[in-house]
């Protein structure tokens, strides 16, 4: 087991290495501490609230290398989008149907956009 996860409010001034952030928390506050962090859990209280996708990308864009977990109301069809935004761990309220996860993960060959998942965008494939 890793270190206990602290809330965003508790993180400031602590030595915690794992933090949980809610949709309204500003992920950029974590940026000076990225070297120390091993786990950031981004919560999705409702699957419609997409703020966590931006939080994830901001952390990865700034060089965060630790575990990035999507927790809460995470639906199986959202997983590919979340992975593209940098999530690599999932703690959904209801278990994900692994057959669907696998099917979806191989479905889309190449994306249009460059994000933080390392996938080569279509425009790069077209022009090298």
């Amino acid at each position: 087991m890793g270190d206990p996860i602290v809330s965003f409010a508790e993180f400031e001034g602590s030595n915690a290495t794992a933090v949980r952030i809610a949709p309204g928390d500003d992920a950029r506050v974590l940026l000076p501490h990225l070297d120390r962090l091993t786990l950031v859990e981004v919560t999705f209280p409702a699957f419609r609230d997409g703020r966590g996708y931006s939080s994830a990308r901001i952390l990865r864009e700034s060089g965060y290398k630790g575990t990035l977990r999507a927790a809460g109301d995470v639906l199986v069809d959202q997983v590919p989008y979340m992975k593209r935004c940098g999530f690599d761990d999932f703690a959904p309220n209801a278990p994900l149907d692994q057959t669907v996860v696998e099917k979806l993960s191989g479905l889309y060959p190449e994306p249009y956009q460059r994000t933080v998942d390392g996938a080569v965008p279509v425009w790069k494939l077209r022009h090298g």
Partner: protein, 543 residues
């Protein structure tokens, strides 16, 4: 026109497979309707009052004869033999069976079409000027830019669960034919020191709180465009309101936060995003642009026109617009027959328009936000033949931009959000003003009808707008005057208490007659209204 390569095709094909599996899971009861809803919505599938409605994307309103034929085929095979062209330059089918939708999407994919992001809280189909590539007044063809945005916005992983839907329009003329500043983001392409760039407006919209988008950036060069838009969207995704669906559009963020603050936030975000290498090379822009090269116009095409047939002459005067190439013209097909349903076309009519495009318009058609169809590149020498064929199919009504060229939402006849019916009001107004000579004497008059406050029928932007409301269980129609979706953009003002259906039609007639009485010179209705103000018309309406 743009043509898919293997990458584009693979993405659309994958979507068909993904949706086929989602439908299978829903029909097997593996997912609930609540879980299925955002998935089907992201694919343009709505549950309406009587059936599923499928909205097909027509990116920037451009399509080929073959694609148009497929729309007719789907209407015939899977629906009730007609389709409905929408204010977002798309097409809707109103009577779709859930189990047929994967096959319909496969049929669409076979002609490089899809229903991706035609609903849901994501970036919707990019809209544009229906005269793109044909208009004499354009700085450049806006469609390559729109196609670049189509690709960027397709399955954008960060912006698929936005606070609300997000609409982008791109134009490249001073004359705005796409209601650009009434979009979440409006882009006007401009030239600065000989270089093309995007003038960016953010935070326009209609709905229950109509707003005209303020300018956020006067010039974003092509090589920065996607990074800049990425920044615009990220600020919205993070800070747009999510506590109230009616206050979740970006216009509310900008209204509450201030355009200057939003601009500063975007600039800060852009400074970061620009370091990430998200913008494709200009070679990609050039690749896309090459698909939109002007067709091989006949340089010897004759510029003169035989107008000896008076009905033809009227149609030419009203529905045919100047083209940038000598000897060519832009043909508008008003899908607004007297007493008909605005934007509805039968499978046979769709087929005929497709055939005309193939034979006479370099295989191209456009859908307009006013729910009409355009043949963008017709030789003047062919206009008479085109008109005769349209006339035989009931598609030659010479009422473009006249009072019977009405925008109307589907209203309570179809829509589960509506408070009142829109279609019967449109039909009655069109019948009341059936006399074309009278309509032409009235001149340009944009009448737009919405069946609820969501304003899908653009009533705020109508020279005359009609808003259907539910008044204690009875349909009631409020009248607004003075709106415009064009370059002289404005929001209409409510005149006073509403009317029942017949009362609204009578009131419209009183407004129009008052205009004919007080107009000066060749003033349009809108100009007269702006000159004389509310009171003259209030007096006419309520007397």
């Amino acid at each position: 026109m743009y043509q898919y390569d293997k990458y584009d095709q693979a993405i659309v094909d994958a979507r068909v497979e993904e949706f086929r599996d989602q439908v299978r899971r829903r029909m097997a009861g593996e997912i609930t309707e609540d879980q299925f809803k955002p998935l089907r919505l992201m694919n343009g599938l709505y549950l309406q009052l009587h059936a599923y409605m499928l909205r097909v994307a027509i990116p920037y309103g451009t399509l080929s004869g073959k694609q148009m034929k497929m729309l007719g085929h789907i209407a015939r095979k899977y629906d009730r033999d007609y389709g409905h062209f929408t204010t977002r330059q798309n097409l809707q089918y109103n009577w779709i069976k859930l189990e047929d939708t994967p096959d319909i999407l496969a049929d669409l994919a076979s002609v490089e079409m899809h229903a991706i992001q035609t609903s849901g809280n994501c970036i919707r189909n990019i809209s544009s000027d229906q005269y793109a590539g044909a208009a004499a007044d354009e700085v450049t063809d806006p469609r390559p830019w729109a196609e670049l945005l189509r690709q960027w916005s397709t399955f954008h992983p960060e912006f698929s669960y936005l606070p609300r839907k997000f609409k982008i329009a791109v134009i490249a003329s001073a004359e705005d034919r796409a209601a650009m500043r009434l979009h979440d983001i409006g882009i006007e392409l401009v030239k600065k020191d000989g270089v093309l760039g995007a003038r960016i407006f953010v935070g326009g919209g209609m709905g229950r709180t109509p707003m005209i988008a303020p300018e956020i950036n006067p010039f974003v060069p092509a090589e920065d465009l996607l990074s800049y838009l990425e920044a615009c969207l990220r600020v919205y995704n993070r800070y747009g309101r999510r506590d109230n669906a009616y206050k979740a559009r970006i216009k509310i963020l900008i209204h509450e936060h201030g355009a200057d603050n939003y601009r500063a936030d975007v600039a800060k975000e852009f400074a970061h995003v620009k370091t990430l290498g998200l913008d494709p090379p200009l070679a990609e822009f050039d690749r896309i642009t090459a698909f939109f090269a002007a067709p091989a116009f006949d340089a010897t095409a004759a510029d003169d026109l035989d107008l000896s047939d008076p009905d033809f002459a009227v149609w030419v005067d009203q529905n045919v617009k100047p083209h940038k190439a000598k000897g060519y013209a832009i043909v508008n097909i008003a899908v607004k027959p007297t007493g008909g349903i605005p934007g509805d076309a039968t499978s046979d009519q769709i087929d005929l328009m497709a055939d005309l495009a193939t034979a006479y318009s370099f295989d191209e058609l456009r859908v307009t936000h006013a729910q009409n169809i355009v043949l963008p590149h017709v030789k003047k020498a062919d206009l008479y033949a085109v008109w005769q064929k349209l006339n035989d199919a009931g598609l030659a009504n010479a009422n473009l931009d006249l009072i019977s060229d009405i925008i109307a939402c589907p209203g309570l006849d179809y829509c589960s959000l509506a408070n009142a019916r829109s279609i019967p009001v449109a039909q009655k107004i069109s019948e009341r003003f059936a006399d074309l000579e009278r309509q032409r004497d009235i001149g340009e008059l944009k009448l737009k009808i919405s069946g609820c406050i969501n304003a899908c029928g653009h009533h705020h932007a109508g020279h005359i707008g009609i808003l259907g409301v539910d008044k204690k269980g009875v349909e009631n129609y409020q009248i607004t005057l003075g709106g415009s979706g064009a370059e002289d953009v404005s929001i209409g003002k409510i005149m006073g208490p509403g009317f029942d259906e017949n009362g609204a039609v009578d009131a419209i007639e009183r407004i129009v007659e008052k205009y004919r009485e007080v107009r000066e010179g060749d003033e349009r209705f809108l100009d007269t209204y702006r000159r004389v103000g509310n009171d003259v018309f209030k007096e006419a309406i309520y007397g």
